[in-house]
């Protein structure tokens, strides 16, 4: 790398941009952490390049290769959805989102101010003048200090210490053991249910309700203004015959389009909602609902291939061959899925 002579551990401060989330991250390279991972749908994002330039790290295109997690200074992502936004924070890697993302989705709990900042442009990346403590090991310190279940003394052990040894002690222990076990069983059941409820409400507030608000506004506008009718006239000849649907699936599965259309399934969700409104006004026959579901979703996950592979602990070579393999495969399987779905929708 040309920045080799500047390869000292200089810190940069990345602050949130307008509408962004977070307090800002202080990033610096150290012994092993020397790479800035750019997971932005192919190529090095200018923000990643800027961070790399200022810290003396190397910018790596995360779409074509993987880097071991412990070599990554920071990950630069362009996630407007809910998946990638949480993957890197979950691994404890500081994450810079170039979109104005905020904690949401199933991994929202990992997206903390210590690890995440969003709406970042190159202007938000500045050399750090203050020498604050480096931001690292966020999740390690954030984890509660409760030892794992198997290291904690079991309730039976605790009960056994109460009555001491002897025959009476044994009987007493076996009786209380049953009660203690029952009691702790109920306790853990209730706690699990409560935690599940909390997780659900969190997800509802942070992900589902915002999406519903946005979908309602969109639906309200298209129905009130009559755009829905107009769209129906344009769409129904395309979407109500199998050839038109196969054509849609082919377009969304084009290898250069599919990674752009993928993030957060945002586009598939909007098109799904709009198609649903067409079904509701009768512009699109119900029997085409099934092939439509596959036609609008030929690009599913195409933006996420390297990250998904990295989650499966894939090696860089696998990402290099696997990403194009998945994208090319969709050219075959996306239209095929529509045809199968069309054949399966008779009698609906």
């Amino acid at each position: 790398m040309s920045e080799m002579e500047t390869h000292t551990s200089r810190a940069v401060f990345v602050k949130p941009g307008p509408g962004g989330w977070g307090r800002g991250l202080l990033l610096r390279t150290d012994g092993t952490r020397t790479k800035v991972l750019s997971v932005t749908g192919g190529g090095i994002h200018p923000v990643a390049a800027r961070i790399a330039e200022l810290t003396g790290a190397e910018a790596v295109d995360g779409f074509t290769t993987t880097v071991p997690d412990d070599e990554v200074v920071a990950a630069v992502i362009n996630c407007g959805g809910t998946a990638r936004i949480g993957v890197y924070p979950r691994k404890g890697i500081p994450t810079v989102d170039v979109y104005p993302g905020a904690p949401g989705g199933p991994l929202a709990q990992f997206i903390t101010e210590e690890l995440f900042v969003s709406a970042v442009g190159t202007d938000q990346v500045t050399p750090s003048t203050t020498d604050e403590a480096p931001v690292e090991d966020g999740p390690a310190t954030a984890r509660p200090a409760v030892p794992p279940r198997e290291e904690r003394p079991s309730s039976r052990d605790v009960a056994a210490t109460v009555a001491g040894g002897g025959k009476f002690g044994q009987t007493f222990n076996s009786v209380t053991g049953v009660f203690v076990k029952f009691g702790s069983g109920v306790g853990s059941f209730v706690n699990t249910m409560l935690a599940a409820g909390r997780q659900t409400v969190d997800l509802t507030l942070k992900t589902i309700l915002p999406f519903m608000a946005y979908v309602s506004l969109l639906l309200g506008i298209v129905t009130y203004t009559g755009v829905a009718e107009w769209m129906g006239r344009v769409l129904s000849p395309i979407a109500s015959n199998p050839i038109g649907l196969v054509a849609i699936s082919l377009v969304v599965a084009l290898p250069f389009l599919s990674p752009i259309l993928g993030p957060g399934a945002a586009i598939a969700q909007v098109i799904g909602t709009l198609m649903g409104s067409q079904i509701a006004i009768g512009a699109l026959p119900v029997q085409y609902a099934l092939p439509t579901l596959f036609a609008i979703n030929g690009q599913v996950g195409c933006d996420f291939v390297p990250v998904g592979l990295a989650l499966g602990e894939a090696k860089p070579e696998t990402v290099a061959v696997g990403t194009p393999a998945v994208l090319v495969s969709r050219m075959i399987t996306a239209p095929l899925a529509v045809v199968i779905a069309w054949a399966a929708s008779f009698g609906l």
Partner: protein, 215 residues
């Protein structure tokens, strides 16, 4: 819905008569339609919240609790078993992965596969994250509207969504199976074409050694 759409079509005709009232008429027209737009959106919002949300919340709670009770450890063995054969690798394995670990952590089960099968498993698993939302919305609760958007339209026609949901789910399984097979073949082709045959042969040996060592 149909009535509203018809009303919406007629609206542009209305203002012609009203605007003759001068400047005030224009503002009246603007005011009516500005608030009308959001009233309509609000109705849509209430429809979604009362129609979908209550069931969704209790179902999510139940399923999150269930997956916690079952635990990741217990399914690991089933996943390792299903990783062995090509039929189960792109049907049972991604289904268990998506149901137990949900999107996006489900892809981490790829670690039980040799390198050459990982892209195909990913393709298979990621293609299941929307069909799964028909009966198990918790597995991908952040991306419900691919299915719900379409299903909502069917509901508004007064028809049951269950037959459609069942077919989406089943065809989904068939599609992820085909996708797995096709992507596996294309990955093999890419390995050969980019001259990485040796590298991947090494990976296979490493994988076998790790598996033998793990037993």
């Amino acid at each position: 819905m149909h009535v509203l759409a018809v009303m919406a079509q007629q609206q542009p005709a209305q203002p012609e008569g009203e605007t003759s009232g001068g400047v005030l008429g224009v503002f009246e027209w603007l005011g009516t339609h500005f608030i009308g737009l959001f009233n309509e959106s609000g109705e849509q919002f209430v429809g979604l919240i009362t129609g979908i949300l209550p069931t969704l919340i209790v179902l999510l709670t139940f399923m999150y609790a269930l997956t916690t009770f079952i635990g990741e450890q217990r399914v690991t063995r089933a996943v390792q078993w299903s990783a062995r054969w090509w039929i189960t690798r792109y049907t049972v394995m991604p289904i268990i992965a998506v149901l137990m670990l949900t999107n996006p952590m489900c892809y981490s089960f790829g670690r039980f596969l040799p390198e050459r099968h990982k892209p195909a498993f990913y393709d298979s698993a990621v293609s299941f994250v929307h069909p799964v939302t028909t009966f198990f919305p918790y597995a991908n609760a952040g991306e419900l509207f691919v299915w719900l958007g379409i299903a909502n339209g069917v509901t508004q026609l007064g028809e049951s969504t269950v037959p459609l949901a069942l077919r989406y789910f089943l065809v989904g399984i068939l599609v992820i199976f085909i996708r797995g097979i096709v992507t596996e073949k294309i990955t093999a082709f890419m390995i050969k074409r980019t001259g990485r045959t040796e590298v991947f042969a090494d990976f296979d040996r490493e994988f076998e050694a790790a598996k033998a060592g793990g037993r």
